[in-house]
Each structure stands twice: as C-alpha cells, then as structure tokens.
C-alpha cells in the first residue's frame, strides 16, 4: 500500500504494540486507544487532534513520541493573535534592506551601463528574485517542520487558543504537508512529519480542521494507568502509598471542583509525600499537602468536608 512509506525514522511505528512499548520505554504510559491513533496517523498520513482536560499528558505525548522516534520535535505554541508571520514564514526585512544598501553601488554599476530607462528597468526586474528567495526567508515552526530531511514530530499546541482564521493557514499544512509562499512557490515536505495538535476545548474547533485530522480524546486515566504513570516518574514510592494516593486523587476528581487535579499534580504530590517520609495517607497529612493538588482557594474549601471520608476510603484501598 502506498501509505506505508519506507522512509527512515518511522520504522518503529510498525504496529500498535510496538508503539505502546516504545512509548513505555521513554516513560509514557500509553493506552491501546492512544497507540492505535498514532499508528493510524502514520499509516494514513493524517494529523492527530488530541482533546481532553488540561494536564492529562497531551503535550507530553508529542514530546515522548519525538524521544521514542529519536526525531526532532518542532513545537508551535498557539495564542490569540498568532499569525502567518509567526507560524509559517517571514521575510527577513532587515537583511533585505541591508543587502540593498550594500549592493547599491553594485546595482548602480550594473544598471549604469545602460542608457535608456527601459533597459535599466528590464535589467532590474531580472534581479528581483534575488531578494525574494529562500536566502531571505525566515522559516517559522510550520515551514521548519516541512523542511525536515528525516522523520520529525510537529506539535501544534493548544490550537484552540489561536484565532479561527489561523486554522485556515493550517489546513494546507495538515492535508498536503506543504506551505505555499507566493513569491517562491510551494514548499513540500519530503518526509512528512508526524503532526500532533492539542486542544483544551477553550473554543469549538472548525469542522474543516476536524475533518482533516484523526481525533483522539484523552480523559483522566483510570487508577491502574495513573499508578503506572506515577510509578514511572517517582520510582521509589511504596506500593501501599501509591495505591492510596492515586485512589485519593481519583476520588477528588469526582467531586464538584473548579480545577480537577492533573496527572502532573498527582506526580508532584507523590514526590511531596515521599519527601515527608509518609508511608500511608491520613487526614492531617492530606490537609497539609492539599495545596499541591488543588490550586484554587475555593476548591480547597469545597472539598474540606469530603477529605476525611476520602482519606479513609483511600487508606483502606
């Protein structure tokens, strides 16, 4: 099949299991669904759009993919007002200006020989491409990713933060892996990068964008996966404590709070507990370290009543 390319660098993506394993080897605990979507992304040559609550490891997945493939990661962080000039390419105006100044005399020489305005103009137009060539083109992340000679990972982070019009710039990159620069032409990727887009759903993304992407929704992990993740990051936490703290965090996420604790906060909490030489959870310990998990005063107040119950349940888990 045409989709299965023999490009160097992507060999590791030969099967779903291989991806799960490979990601595991760089410390990312994958699920079958995640691995499947990456497998498809490569073999169908499609970008993956990852949605899900903040802090479930969307960005980390892209970084881990790059580590696993031993490929460079090109990252484009989106924000309101991000435009073509910062995402695709920009002309090096300063350099152009400097060169025109420096070459002024040279230009005078070249043109000077001619008598009529017409012939001078003709001569000048033949040089025009000099100043609008790749020498003066400043590649921004998207163009940079297209120019990679071997396998690479392109991460378009928090695409929902960019304006709607910006999605339109992305479409060409996402569906054809190319960038069109009007003055030069179309620059097509020789080796298409593995494209990963993430969104926190600040706003609904356009259908055109969604249509061009595979879609992966990553939710908070279940207890077993979260344990594996914490274990991978904080290796010397005891089994008992690990089970208890994960069960506590899972319980916390079910409560009605503004910001549910993310995975990285669980990891931080595990480190904190470890530092405090805790062997098991109890209410006072939880209370004194709760600010690692909850970052809003109102959230801490809201769960106040539930802490005792949760801590008890977790200790029994």
């Amino acid at each position: 099949m045409a989709e299965i390319h023999d490009q160097t660098g992507y060999d590791a993506l030969s099967s779903v299991e291989a991806i799960t394993e490979g990601l595991g080897s760089v410390g990312y605990i994958s699920t079958r669904e995640i691995s499947t979507s990456l497998y498809l992304a490569h073999h169908l040559r499609k970008p993956v759009l990852i949605e899900g609550p903040a802090g479930v490891g969307k960005t980390d997945l892209a970084a881990s993919m790059a580590r696993f493939l031993e490929a460079p990661l090109t990252r484009l962080q989106c924000y309101e007002g991000l435009d073509e000039g910062k995402a695709l390419y920009e002309w090096k105006y300063g350099k152009q200006l400097l060169y025109t100044q420096l070459l002024k005399e040279k230009l005078g020489e070249v043109i000077g020989g001619d008598q009529g305005l017409d012939s001078a103009f003709e001569k000048l137009t033949s040089f025009e491409d000099l100043f609008f060539s790749e020498t003066f083109l400043e590649p921004r992340p998207l163009l940079k990713a297209m120019k990679q000679a071997a396998a690479s990972v392109l991460l378009v982070d928090e695409i929902d933060k960019a304006d709607e019009e910006f999605e339109a710039y992305l479409l060409e990159v996402l569906s054809d892996y190319q960038v069109t620069v009007p003055e030069i032409g179309t620059i097509k990727a020789e080796v298409p990068p593995l494209v990963i887009l993430t969104s926190n759903n600040v706003r609904e993304l356009g259908d055109a964008l969604k249509r061009r992407c595979l879609h992966l929704y990553i939710d908070f992990p279940d207890a077993a996966r979260e344990r594996a993740i914490v274990r991978a990051r904080v290796s010397d936490v005891s089994d008992d404590l690990l089970r208890q703290l994960v069960s506590f965090v899972q319980g916390l996420r079910d409560l009605d709070i503004r910001k549910r604790p993310s995975i990285s906060e669980t990891v931080d909490w595990a480190r904190t507990l470890l530092l405090m030489h805790a062997n098991e959870l109890d209410e006072t310990l939880v209370r004194s370290t709760l600010n690692v998990l909850l970052k809003h005063e109102s959230d801490i107040a809201a769960v106040d009543l539930d802490i005792r119950k949760l801590a008890k349940e977790s200790a029994a888990a």
Partner: protein, 446 residues
Amino acid sequence: MAEQVLTDFIRALRSADVRVSTSESIDAARAVKLIGYGDRVLLVDTLRCVLAKSPAEKHTHDRLFDLYFSREALEPPASEESDQSEQEDSAAPIMDALDLIENADETQMAMAMEAAARQAGIADIRFSTQTSYFAQQMVEALDTGALEGEIKAAFGARTEEGTARAEALIEGRKDLFIRARAYAKQAFETFGKGETEKFREEVLTEKAISQLDHYDLARMKPLIAKMAKRLAVKHSRKRHKKNRGQLDVRKTMRANAGFDGVPFDLTWKQTKRDRPKIIAICDVSGSVSKTVRFFLMLLYSLYEAVPDLSAYAFSGNLKDVGEILDADAFDPVMDKIIRRVGQSSTDYGQSLIDFQTDHWDQIDRRTTLIMLGDGRSNNADPRVDIFSAAAARAKRTIWLCPEPPSLWGTGDSEIPRYRPHCSSLKYVTTVKDLERVIDEVLASYN
C-alpha cells in the same frame, strides 16, 4: 460486502447525528483496509478515531458500534480483494427456508438473516412501527416455496407423523419470523432511532411553547443547548474589522522602528466591534413564565457569544436572576426564582421603577435591551416614560410578546403604548422564534 458493512455503519452514525463527511468515510475505508476486521478492539479504536470527532460523538459511536457489530462474529472479509469474491461464493448463505429450519446452525442462520435483511433494505428503517413490516419483508426474501410445499404435503399425508412434522415446520417458520423481528428491531435501534429523534426535535422547536407538556420540557434542554451552540459558532467570530485603506501611522512607525523607520510592515487601522451586551427583563407571571424559561435557558447557554449578560425577572417587583449563570441546575433555580418573584400581581410600572433605581447605569450605547412579557399591567401605570428613556439610552430595544398581535391592546394590555419606543416588537410562540430573535440581536453587533 466489506464495504457494505462499513457504509451501513457510517449511515447509522449519520442518522444518529454524527457528522461523517465523504473524506472521513474514505479515511475509514483506508484505515479498515490497513487493520482488517479481525481484531474487534482494534477496529473499534480505529473507527472511533477516524469517524467520531468529539466526546459526544465518540459516545454515540461506541453505542452504535456495539449494536451494529454485535451480531456478526466479525467475519473477516479477506483482506485481499482477489479471493474475497471466491470466499463469498463458497460461503453463500442458505436462503431456502426449509433448509434453514432443518439443517442450519446458528452461524448459517445469522448469515441468512443478514442476507435477507440486506435484500429487504433494512437500512431504510426509520420508525419503530416499521419493525414488523421489515420482518415480513425479510421472511419473504427467503425462499419459502419448498417450506410451504412441505407443510402442505405433511398435512396432506394425514398420518400422525405427518401432522407432527407439519407442526414442527410451522414452529420453525414462526421461529424464523421471531428472529427476523429481533433483527429488524435491532436495525431500528441502529439506523432509525437517531432519525426519529431528529424528527421529534424538529417538531418540538416548531411547537408553541404554551403547548409543550412536562414530557417535552425534559427533551428541550439538549435541544436548546444545540441551538445555543449553533448561535455561538455563528456569532463568536473575530471582533476586529480591518479597515483597509486607512494607515495606522502610530502602529506602523512602532513596528518598523527596527528597519530604521523605513515602513516595510504596514499596519492598517482597525475598528473594534462591540461585544454583545444584553439586558433581559422578563415578566415571569403565569402564562409568560414558560416562554421566559426557555428564553433564559437559551440566553444563558450562550455565554460563549454573549459574555456580557444580565437578566432580571419581575411580576410585582424586579429581581436579578444572574445567579442562574453559575448554577448547573437550571430548573430548580428557575423554579425558585419564579416562586420568589412571581407571587405578586404583575406591575410593569413598578418593575421599571425598580430597574431605574438599581440598574440604570447598566444600559449603555452597546446594550440591547430585551423585554419579554405580555404587557398586561393590571391597569397600573405602565410608566412608558421610563421605558422610553431606557430605549433612548440603549442600542436597540426589543420587545418579545407571547400573545398574538390580535390581542395587543385588548383589556389591560399596554403593548400599543410601549410599541413606539421599541426598535422591534415580536410575537414569539416557538423556541425557533426565540432562536431567530437572538440570532438577529447578535447579528446587529457584526
């Protein structure tokens, strides 16, 4: 056949409101070709990833996948096309009813049902009442000639064994019909349910609000959420309009300071569009309260497009109902407000006075003031003067009246006296009307 399986599944998804474009169907076909039908978990992960593009769609997808792929043991249509046709030939389903009853095992039976269903065009099923019809069609698609003949012959023999055999065959025929019915019923769940829902929703939005009963109210919520999403997508576009042709000198100079002031990078003047600001004042007495409920529900679901929203409810006195905004439980809060506010008899004049004393500053030139009520003020002074002053301050003033125009001005209706001060006066009966009004209001900000 493999393709038929996939296209039918996509059809089922579409009927359940999952938008699947043609290019996505092609992707799905490519993906399935890549991974095959052999591994069920892999298949569901793959299709979910390619076809469903939001958590809600993923949920629908999983439900339909279970329904749709539950019956077949996922017979792998061979991956290479060349021997696919061959295999299909060799495994042609038994279509003779007699043969089926007497000899078929479960798999053959299932295959026959599948084939019969396809012949009957089961993917067209739309309503649950069609189940029997399609079951009948399916049985007819089977070749029943031999079976009927055999039954007749067995009866005709007039022996004990003959009668017993005939009865057994009749049982078998009944069983076939039961199977067909079960199959058709499942097909309805897969293909038809979404369509039926859609149809119901359409009817609901066009139904007069006063006619909606309790049962409808529960259905209305997701509908209004959908409506609000549509409006938000339409109106939360960018708020800057490039005013091409007018150079913004200050910005241009700043942007080009690095180039020695040579203006390479030109910046044009932009006009900022106003963010919509809506103040809604709603009469929550008796008959109007139902309309108000939907109106507020819709407004509050619009937080994306209307960041600046305040709502007040009144009958005798005016109360701020802003607290709904933060509450997930819309209904209980709304009930509380109506109970609290809606006790006394309606007094438009007093409510306008209350508004003037407490919230007057809120009206500015970008405010759209929306009044919702029948304008029946129990013969109290309607204080048209305050209303006209408010209208003069606001960008637009819109009155929504749930009473038909023929009743305006009858009895204690003060609508004709308010009317000259409104930018527009609208008769709203259905939820669709409400949507149209809000659409118009938001459009006026672009």
